[in-house]
């Protein structure tokens, strides 16, 4: 069985912890299984899987680019290629479109959701947050448990406070033509108000217990 913790931590501009909350994430979504299906059963494609823009895509297994289920992401405005080297021919993804994302929508979670309700864009403008890189680390085991950590920092330099009430995980998958992002987890919580100059750290910890 796998459970996942969601940890929200808010820091001031000097890195001092102001607020920390830990709760159980309840919300792996169907698109996780859409991607697992393609990985398990390489001989098929799966149509009508909506990407984070709500556009239906036919996702496929392909032995060339292999970014399927990728969550590790560069900072918000940095592109990540579909594969290594000059042979990249499946496009790129911008950092803010995969990995942990945050938003301002409080719509209740259901299994079939394609994106956060109102994702906060990467940037320095009003209502925006600077997305750091999304990192994965800490793969550890101590019988009967195991876990790893997915973490991302969001910095508010927008000039005003932003109330974050949703977080999620976007993962990549491929069509025969291009790389797209799909929402595999989403959580809604009581608002965390990130004031100008503050930093929000969002951490997901998948944990296995035998």
């Amino acid at each position: 069985m796998i459970r996942m913790k969601l940890i929200l931590a808010r820091f001031d501009k000097d890195g001092q912890l102001i607020e920390r909350r830990e709760q159980e994430s309840k919300s792996w979504l169907k698109h996780l299984f859409d991607i697992l299906y393609i990985l398990h059963n390489e001989s098929v494609s799966l149509a009508n899987v909506n990407d984070i823009g709500g556009n239906p895509r036919e996702i496929v297994y392909t032995p060339t680019p292999i970014n399927a289920l990728q969550v590790g992401a560069p900072p918000g405005n940095v592109n990540f290629p579909c594969m290594i080297g000059s042979a990249c021919n499946k496009g790129e993804q911008i950092g803010q479109d995969f990995g942990i994302v945050v938003g301002t929508g409080n719509l209740a979670v259901t299994p079939i959701q394609d994106a956060l309700q109102t994702k906060i864009a990467h940037g320095e403008g009003a209502g925006q947050l600077l997305y750091g890189g999304c990192e994965l680390y800490g793969l550890t085991f101590a019988n009967p448990n195991g876990q790893f950590t997915i973490r991302r920092y969001f910095t508010n330099v927008a000039g005003g406070a932003i109330a974050v009430v949703e977080a999620g995980i976007y993962a990549s998958a491929l069509t025969s033509a291009l790389l797209y992002s799909f929402c595999i987890a989403r959580d809604v919580f009581a608002a965390v108000t990130v004031n100008n100059g503050e930093i929000l750290r969002v951490t997901y910890v998948p944990q296995i217990t035998v």
Binding site: R3, L36, P206
Partner: protein, 223 residues
């Protein structure tokens, strides 16, 4: 005794009303459905639906490797089903066909897909293979492994899932299945095989000669 087993990779769609709900909200787990059928009569002689308890270490390691997708070509060390640590790639080198979490085995293939065995030792997180896997074959003590089939992902109001299925036909003398696992393919420069799930806590299931055990592993999440 020999029973024909299919080679075709079927696509089945599970209707929302057919989704079993055994997990708690927030859990990502597996429901194990076991059905014994007499192919002569079509009669189901045993049917159980139970929560699978036991994703093992390799599942989390492979999930981590998939999610991190590190472009620096570093690796995760994962123990394969032959008890050898393999440095599984996190990203695909140019010109290489990389499998990751694949389990679409054909008939008779026992290196990946759902595998059955006879040992009933309780699972622990470090188990890397079934303890007494049943070989594919038509002799006593063996079973005939069908090709893997897959149910397309589905969801109802609370639960998402995808289903993996394999049939096992018992030969002369019958057999008791006490452990079930899922083996998948990873890559370290060559295809390697890793056990991601092992269950041995279902009290054993007797499969009489000529009858077929159908194992459904339903990977599920509940919100």
């Amino acid at each position: 005794m020999r029973t024909e087993i299919g080679l075709k990779h079927d696509l089945k769609v599970i209707k929302p009303e057919e989704i079993h709900h055994l997990l708690e909200p927030g859990e990502l787990g597996v429901v194990l459905e076991l059905t014994v059928t007499d192919p002569k009569t079509g009669k189901v002689t045993e049917h159980r639906v139970i929560p699978s308890k036991s994703f093992v270490q390799q599942f989390l390691q492979l999930l981590f490797a998939k999610m991190i997708c590190n472009i620096s070509l570093s690796t995760v060390s994962i123990r394969d089903t032959s008890n050898i640590l393999r440095n599984v790639y996190l990203f695909r080198p140019l010109g290489v066909t990389l499998h990751s979490l694949a389990c679409n085995a054909g008939a008779g293939i026992v290196t990946n897909g759902i595998i059955v065995g006879t040992d009933n030792t309780a699972p622990i997180i470090t188990h890397y293979a079934l303890l007494a896997p049943i070989a594919h074959g038509v002799a006593g003590g063996q079973m005939q492994y069908s090709a893997m089939t897959f149910g397309a992902p589905g969801a109802d109001a609370t639960t998402s899932q995808v289903t993996l299925t394999r049939n096992f036909t018992a030969n002369v003398g019958g057999i008791t299945v006490n452990e079930i696992g899922l083996y998948v393919i990873g890559y370290d420069g060559a295809d390697r095989y890793f056990m991601t799930i092992r269950d041995a806590n279902f009290g054993g299931i007797v499969v009489p000669a000529g009858q077929t055990l159908t194992v459904n592993y339903r990977e599920q999440a509940v919100i």
